[in-house]
Each structure stands twice: as C-alpha cells, then as structure tokens.
Assembly symmetry: C2
Homo-oligomer: 457 residues x 2
Amino acid sequence: MNDQVQKELKRILNGRFSTSESTRANYARGEDTFDPVLSKAVVFPETNEEVSKVLKLCNQHKVPVVPFGTGTSLEGNVVGNEKGITVCLEKMNKILNVNVEDFDCRVQACVTKEQLNDYLREDGVFFPIDPGANAAIGGMASTSASGTMAVKYGTMKTVITGLTVVLPNGDIIKTGGRTKKTSSGYNLTNLFIGSEGTLGIITEIQLRLSPIPESIMSAVCHFPSLKMAVQTAQQVIQYGVPIARIEMLNKDQMEISINYSKLQDVKAVPTLFFEFHGSEVSNKENIKIVEEISNDNNGSSFKWAKDLEERNKLWKARWDVYYSVKALINNGRVYSTDVCLPISKITECVNFAEEQTKKLGLRAPMVGHLGDGNFHVLLPYDPTKKKTYHKIRDFSDLLIQKTLDLNGTITGEHGVGLHKKEYLLKEHGDNIPLMKIIKRSIDQNNIMNPGKIFDLN
Amino acid sequence: MNDQVQKELKRILNGRFSTSESTRANYARGEDTFDPVLSKAVVFPETNEEVSKVLKLCNQHKVPVVPFGTGTSLEGNVVGNEKGITVCLEKMNKILNVNVEDFDCRVQACVTKEQLNDYLREDGVFFPIDPGANAAIGGMASTSASGTMAVKYGTMKTVITGLTVVLPNGDIIKTGGRTKKTSSGYNLTNLFIGSEGTLGIITEIQLRLSPIPESIMSAVCHFPSLKMAVQTAQQVIQYGVPIARIEMLNKDQMEISINYSKLQDVKAVPTLFFEFHGSEVSNKENIKIVEEISNDNNGSSFKWAKDLEERNKLWKARWDVYYSVKALINNGRVYSTDVCLPISKITECVNFAEEQTKKLGLRAPMVGHLGDGNFHVLLPYDPTKKKTYHKIRDFSDLLIQKTLDLNGTITGEHGVGLHKKEYLLKEHGDNIPLMKIIKRSIDQNNIMNPGKIFDLN
C-alpha cells in the first residue's frame, strides 16, 4: 500500500484512518489462538458509500482488506493482514428500522445482539440468535453463527432475509428483502452468510424477529455422569419436545463456572440447563415430559430459576463460559472445538472427547448446544508453551476424524477462518474447487480477507 | 446436436433415449402458460454417473440441457429447448435412506412428496413441505418451493441440509451434510436451491423430517368479506399463534372447489382453512385464541374436520385448486400469480387484486398461504384468445408493481422461469450482474437451462 493510497483513504474517510501501532494492535486478531497480525492501517467507515469507495480503491491497488466487527470470532477469521488494511465497522452501529407488526428489522453490521435486544424489549419481540459473545450481527452473519437457542429458532441462516453487501469492486447490492419467503433468482443472501468476509463486506442485515413468549421457564438438572446428561438431551430431541434451549456443561466446566460466575446452589457435576418458551400451559406440559426423561437417566430433580434475575444469572454464567476458561491461565488462550453431529451420534462423540482428553492429560471443560448436536471442548493453554498446544491440536485432529466418521461437520457455528482450513479440506475437499471458482469470479484480485476459509492458490 | 452426440448419448444411457415426437411432446412444458417447445431428444438417466456423462458430453458439444422432474412447475421452468435435450430424472426415484432417530433422510431427485410421506408414515415422521402438486423433491429444491405448511415448517431452504449436484462439466459434488447446522465453507447447498436447473442438475437431496404431531386439528371458517378473512389471518400471525396452516380461498375459488371437489356443508363465501399441530392441550389453547380473533372479524363458528378422512378431503380440495380452475375451460391454461408480502401489507394487496380483476372483468379465483404473506390469483383463459391473455398480463403487471411498492417479492415459491424474467429485473435488477457472474463462472458454455431466470446476454 503506497503513500498515495493511504492519502486517498484518509480523504475518503474524513480522517477516520489510523496507522498507529496501538490501534493496529487493537484490531489484529479476534478471540482466537493466533498471534496478532497488524494490518498496515485500520479504517472506520460510517456509510455504505464509504465502504464502497474504500473497496474500490483497494481493488484498484490490490490492497488486501480484512473486515472487522466486535472481534469476538474464534477461528482467526479477523486476524490482520500485514500488506493490507482492516476495515472496522464499529461506527456502523445503527438500528435502521423495526417493524413490530411484521416481526422484522434492519440493522447496520455492528449492531450487537444485546444492543438490539435492549432496543426491542418494550416492543414485545426479540432477536433469538444467541452466541456466547455479545457479537456484532454482521459478524454473526459472516460466520453463520447460532448459539443456545438454535434448537427452537434456527441460525443466522434462518433469521436473515436480506443483506446489503459491498462487493470488492465497490458495487453496493441489496439482496433478498422483507418477506418470509421468496424464490426470486439466485439466493445471494445465503452465499454471503458464512462467507467470512471473503466475498465482500456485509453492511446491513434484514432480520426476522420472534415474539417474546408468554411464559419462559428455566431449570437446572444434575447428572451422575456426562453420558447420562447427553443421553437425556438426545432423548428430549428425539421425542420431539419443542424446547428452546438445552445446554450441557461437563464437570470441569461446572467447577470453573461456579468459581468464575459465583454460582450458588449448583454442584460441580455434569449438568443440563433447560429453557422452555411458550404458553404456561404448553410449557408445563413439555416440562413434565423432560422431567420424566431426566429421571429415567438418573437426573436430579429440577431446580427452577424462578424470576428474571435468577434466570439471567444462570444464562450469564453460560455465556461467560469462554471467559471463565480463559481466566484460568494468565495471558492464556482458549482452543475451542466446534463439531456438530446428527443427534443420534452425540453421546458417542462426547464420550470419545472425554476419553481422549483424559488420555492426553488435558483439562477439558465442555459445553454443548445439545439440541443441535453441537458441542465445544474449551482447551485452555499458555501460548508460550508449544507442547501443550501441539497436544491440543492432536486431540482436535482426532475429534475431527471421529466427527467426520459419524457424519458430522467440522464447525457448527464458528466458521473456518485460519484455524480449520485443513479440516475443511477433509470435510468438503471435493467442493473447494467450486468455492474457488465463486471466489475468483466475485473477487478477481483476491483482496477480500485473503487466506481465510481456504488458500486460493 | 449432431448424430455423433446422439449416438453417444444413446450408448451412455443404454438406450434410455428418445427422439420420438410423442415423447418429446410429453416433456415439452410444465403446467404453465407457454406453448410446448420440443427438445431434440429426451434422456432418462438412472444414476449420478449417467447424469455426469450426459452433462460432460453436452458441455463439450455446447448442447443445451433442460432438467425435468414431474413437470408440475408453473413458470415455464421446464419448457424444452429446440437445440438441446431434456434430461428427465423420473427413473431416479429411490428413497436412499431414512434415519428416524435423527429426523432425516436422503432421496433421489424424482421422489415425490406423496411417495416420501407414504413411505414414512409408519415411522412417525413426515416431510412437511406441501405444494399443491405432487411434485418431485428435486424440482421443489430447484424452485425453492414451499406450500401450505411453510408458516410452521419453513420452505425447501429450511429442510434441505445437503445435495448431490452434477455440474455442467460433469463433476459430481456433495454439498452440506446431515447435521442441523454447519458453518463449513460457502453455503453451496443454498446456491443450488432455487437456481432452477441453471447451474447444474440436483440428483439427490438430504432432508430434515418432522415428527408427526400428537394431535392435528383442522377447521373451516367462513367470512362475510374477503377483507375480514385476510385480516383474521394477519392478526393470527401478528399474535404469534404457532399455527401449522392458514389457507385462504376467496368466493370465486370456493364456488369452483365446491363443484370440482364435491365439497359438502361449505358455503361459497370467503373462507379460511386452519390447521393446528401440537399436543391436544396446546392445540386447544391456540384454537381458542384463533376462534376469538375470527369472531371479532365476523367469522362463522368453526366447522371441524373430525377424522383423518374428512381432513384429507378438505386438504385434497385445497391441493386441487389449480386443477379445478384449469377444468373451467376446455384445453384451458391457468396464469397463476405468486406475490408474497410482509404480513402487515397482505390485506391491502389482496384488496387491490380483487378491485383490479373486477375492473378488468376477469374471473379471479384466489388462494393464499396467508401465514407467509403469499397468495395466488389463478386466472383461467383459453390460449387461443390472445386478448384475455393480454388483459391478464396487464393485471399481473399492476399486481407486481403494487407488491414491490409494498416491499413484497414477485415470487414466493414458484420461481422465475420464463414467466417472471422481466419482473425479476424490477425486483433485483441491481443483483442480476452478480447472478450472471456466478452463472458464467459455473456454466461457461451456458448449457444449463439457458434463458430461464434471466437472459445471459
């Protein structure tokens, strides 16, 4: 990137452009296992038109571009580029409109899930996609995120009906629309969802919202073994109970969360967190079924979170799982796996993960969105100690192979980033030529987040 | 297509190749408004490998290819190509596997929705996408179909988790997988869903199934005016009632259906068909709410379909709507509109359609999947009378403009085909350059269903 380009960027962005080392370091990685990589500059656009001008200029001069939201991604998706710029969207954080009667809204890319839900609260609707972090909705679109409520409300793919995207050549396009369904030409919306900033920059998102349920009931249930807990979740889903959340924490993770989040009245044993959304009558009916299934698997009696405050505390502990593990080691990092399986295979795979981590002598807190067959092993380590990292990666390799053998996927919700490129080859090696054809046709100069998801050459 | 290619096709397909006029005429169009166009030949592959060899050969010789399923598409999507071949997939009609415990299955492209549901019945699961016709699942994937139950179960986009696709160059790729969610690379599955055979041939579909609900209750409710019926549907959705079906038939359509399907005890007035899926307790609770809303809009008391037979008769009448309208005119055709709107706009748009058809003196039976904001005006005409057709197209133009003004889409579930190309330009003109880039990059020789969705040049 020559001086002329820098000067031009500064002009386009009215000075919202920084080459200071501290700023560049602030936007050099997400919450991942990678060492920071400082881009040459960080820019802060405020409008679609500014993003367009930035990309057009970068495309002309073949300057790599890394889009950046809240930096909560876990797979190296936003690690900087030493020859390029990072485009931070944090100034594009406006809720553009809300149509309560149609359960939809449009937001700019850096509106976060909590910001949106705070805004919506009085309207009786909410945004149901709930990853651990308070992520930007644009970033969540880019990784096809989901989280604790996907079992009832789906993933970003389910709730996004349209996007504004700035293409590498500077074209601003508006895909999809406001309707619940459409068959109007190629599904460009879903091409950009999950493309991790490699095809363009998502600047606006059109979202479907859900009505806040009449009744929400949360409960905690302890189990004598992880197997029993996982089996319970599996049976609840196979029974077809319309549950809103069914989250697993293993013994290790419970210990860590009890300390970090100062949880009271919960034991450090394998645990399921349940939540039911519906009418009071239907919730009670469903709870009865789930209690019976838990009982059959030697679960404890349900401990109810009775009011909003208690419920929020419970879920806060769940959301903080990543940070609780990170806090175990000074300047530590967390390697998070993200496999997802057909529900009938989840018990086998969780057992496998437990055995293998034990065998390798790794501390292995685990959490799972078991309703979707998705679970994470959170492996804390000291980045200065390469040996532990290698052991962790060995475990990860084994888990990926096991998952693929069981018809699972290498990533349920975090994306590929830098971290899972070789795993993507294992899962979808046959499809990568087509992915590359699409990438090359839209981003001829390979400026968009190069090196993420797959290597082009 | 020269003799050499014909000879080679015959060899590849072991004789399942026809150039007879009667066969070519049988596969020359769908259930649309177009005159038949006879392809040079029709071929009947049985395996992915045969489809691959056919496409590879056609690509080498730049022979256009039209994929064909059950021929129930409504927009000219499968109209033949006089320089090319039609690839009919009717011999690829096997259910490959069913995993009841995971609620999933894999089928070949020409398995129909009824065939699959008959097969699944004893397993306690079902395939919930329910268009009017007994369509092939591959065709439903190609047009991104939905139907009467989308309000609860979503569309083909919701239930498909993976595909086998044969690309124009003959490559066979397997996209997606069996898991409920994945963030593993570009979402190729959704690129092919709704691409109407212009990017490749879908040969296998991986589907999510749903548990058959404990209780299903259907009811019919009459209204003094169409406006009241539509308003009721709108309010039911806005209230957040988890209804499985909410279908509207206007006075005209009721008259036609009563005659065609020999319905008893129903009046020829604007009518809503409701269906509730859930436990008996939750159904009763939801019915109470819906009955109250209907009452407030001067709806009649609910008439219940008490047993399976009565319920099936009710829905059979609904499915037969297209054929009932077609039967009105000897050798007649039906022009079906397919607009879809945000739910708050549906009353205004249905009223507009009623007023405009009256003004133009057109008979206009209407049906609507009102829960999704999607409705069809079914306009019967004699294809030898050009004047009526032009009047219909004028009405269609007006309806499309009104729909776009109200933030709707030109097609909720039928696709674009030949019929809506100019409307696609109005809705997504800005996106068509990108659609063309993708088309050109995957299908360099433009052999796949050329001229459908958009004109490439």
